[in-house]
Symmetry: C2
Subunit: 454 residues, 2 copies
Amino acid sequence: MAERRIVKPQPVSGFPEWLPEQKLVEERWLAVIRREFARYGFTPIETPAIERKEVLAAKGVVEKEIYALSRLAAGEGEDPATEMALHFDLTVPLARYVAQHFASLTFPFRRYQIQKVWRGERPQAGRFREFYQCDIDAIGNGSLGLLNDAEMPCVIHAIFSQLDIGRFVVRLNNRKILQGYLESLGLPAERTPAALRVIDGLDKVGRDQVRHELQGQAGLDGAAAERLLGFLESEGELGALRRIEAGPLFEQGVAELTEVVDGLHALGMPAEAFAIDLGIARGLDYYTGTVYETVLVDRPDFGSICSGGRYDNLAGTFTKQQLPGVGISIGLTRLLARLFEAELVKPGPATAADVLVTVMDKAVLPQTLNLARDLRAAGLNTEVYTQLNKKLGDQLKYADKKGFPIVVIAGEDELARGEVTVKHLASGEQVTVPQRDLPHAVRARLAPASEQQE
Amino acid sequence: MAERRIVKPQPVSGFPEWLPEQKLVEERWLAVIRREFARYGFTPIETPAIERKEVLAAKGVVEKEIYALSRLAAGEGEDPATEMALHFDLTVPLARYVAQHFASLTFPFRRYQIQKVWRGERPQAGRFREFYQCDIDAIGNGSLGLLNDAEMPCVIHAIFSQLDIGRFVVRLNNRKILQGYLESLGLPAERTPAALRVIDGLDKVGRDQVRHELQGQAGLDGAAAERLLGFLESEGELGALRRIEAGPLFEQGVAELTEVVDGLHALGMPAEAFAIDLGIARGLDYYTGTVYETVLVDRPDFGSICSGGRYDNLAGTFTKQQLPGVGISIGLTRLLARLFEAELVKPGPATAADVLVTVMDKAVLPQTLNLARDLRAAGLNTEVYTQLNKKLGDQLKYADKKGFPIVVIAGEDELARGEVTVKHLASGEQVTVPQRDLPHAVRARLAPASEQQE
């Protein structure tokens, strides 16, 4: 046969790909995230990877960052271009979904959505062109209670406290407080969005730069800028906020934030897991009330690992229905990539299986396979070593390399006696048990932490 | 505010999108599929949605069916086109993955992969441009034992027997048997692929058409075509096959098939769940041994719902390593769409939650939220009704519409007595229990079948 040309496989910049041991961590995370989203009564939906271009354009995102689809080839007279492009977030698809299926949905509509999104960004460290987002939103028809705003941090806490990422704090604020305070400083309404974007940079660019920009872009005078900075950096204690006189919008913001915080306490959110932070503004213009960011206490340099907020109208582009909502989004891929890189999360075994059944002798293969059947029937993830005529030593090496916790060894003599050997690889402990006790013996030797996949 | 232009949301042909109650069925299916894949020791991987065009082109697929990516806009002097296109299956990405990460993987490498794939087909009934595939493959380095071929139907059986799709049969064959038999009929080797593709159509186009094509495209004479048809339609009884003298390749195929069937029995595959079918050829040229198709006994018109086979070399395009493998693929979206359409699978509730906690009185909101906290801590998926000041009747209507099995009602008086009411919606049964017994009372009233999501 002629030598074939080899296409060298290589990574594509910005498109992360995990090894099995890393993917297993991601799968475990996804299972926790799905479980806790459902625990709070959110229901999964999934939208196609694509939307029509006019749907995506509706949000006015940077077109350079949108990937459009065209067929690699087309027939005579056909246009290879299509009307479709890959979605760049899960919010625009949600808005389109809710508007399109409005009559089939029951409100408040509580959905979770875990999908990849694509952004044609210039690739750089920590920036991906393809990544998972894990979103929940509660959408009301006409109105939506503030209890939903209180549930969001509880969901975040329920998830992250299971993911072994160290201490984290959900920081929250209410945009009406900021807007009201800006009003009280005499800032014209049309400059509010610019001022909020400047405030959003406080963590990143620092106090001096923000003071400079508040005087420049936002047009505050020096004294007002300084007063604002003092306010943003203040404790955010609710009693103190209630004593500030800054007009009705500010008061409404404080009242909303108070209600959300009361809800957090009642829902069992630990006091140390959240904090009011008046400096949180969120850059996006469409937030109108509660806003959230989540930070790792020991790694503030990671920035916000889960953000979101309240908005007045989800789908104004697609329907005349008024659909207020509140939601949060976990940028799973970015977070995990950083945690792997910083070795704060270390991949474990390269297999999801609990046990490897070694194959000793072709003559007793049927009995050996029976053992595997029993283990699987008992709910144990079980791999059979499928290469016959390999020495036990080679099979044990394989088990060790892949990270199996348990190996089952069944020689001809043992099987004849109705017995089987269970070897715990980490400790080297080895016991011989009756075959009927095998599943129990394996389960007893699995670390309690190594729960089965899913 | 100026009236905004409304972009009418509408479905995109070929890109299916489920309502929540349908998506919940798909999620349950995905959870079963993932669990059983892992139960047999397959480990998840995920590849990007895209591959470099030259990687996809390597398989020689129809270019019209491949979606390439270009940015909607590009900067001055930049080319909006990219080197990337969406993958159209999970086999090419697997081949590229194994070749690229060869040194980091341990062989036999057993992976599962559940992802969407995209095909720019002309949309037609039952054909999708975006759909889920659920694949497993076992890949050997140099060699791979036939035990893997025996495990594939067991995995299929473990999955489909939990999915309530009625009776199904995994039909299997070995390509060497067909190739050997064709050889024994005097067919030149270069015509074998064409003949196998003709045979593959037996179920679809019928006996007469196949006889016609065997004489035409494959170039068999009338007597040989008739003998072949007789063979294809014979029982496929292993004893009878062993008595046929059709050369060494045929004999090897029969020996392999025998070993696979022995393995199936030892692994506990019920005899009625599989059958040898000598008419199964699979159209793809790269299969070289065992081949599988799975059919619904009562809906043969659905065609194969899960297919696959053994191949000699996975990744010849990307590496010089010889990597034999065997795998199967479930076309999840197509199957589910057909089952929905035929009403063989009926969507259930529009929520993944077990219980709705109604909110009766703002004065007792903290106590009510405490109840939700207790239910969640007990592992129950719990939604709180978040619109305050709604009558109980409205809240019950909401619960009914979404399909909650259980509603919790906590009025001021009850809470003062330390009690709470649990209402089972389907039966109308209503009991009042001490608050501390609430999780237990709810769990006792959940149908045993309604296991929690995940």
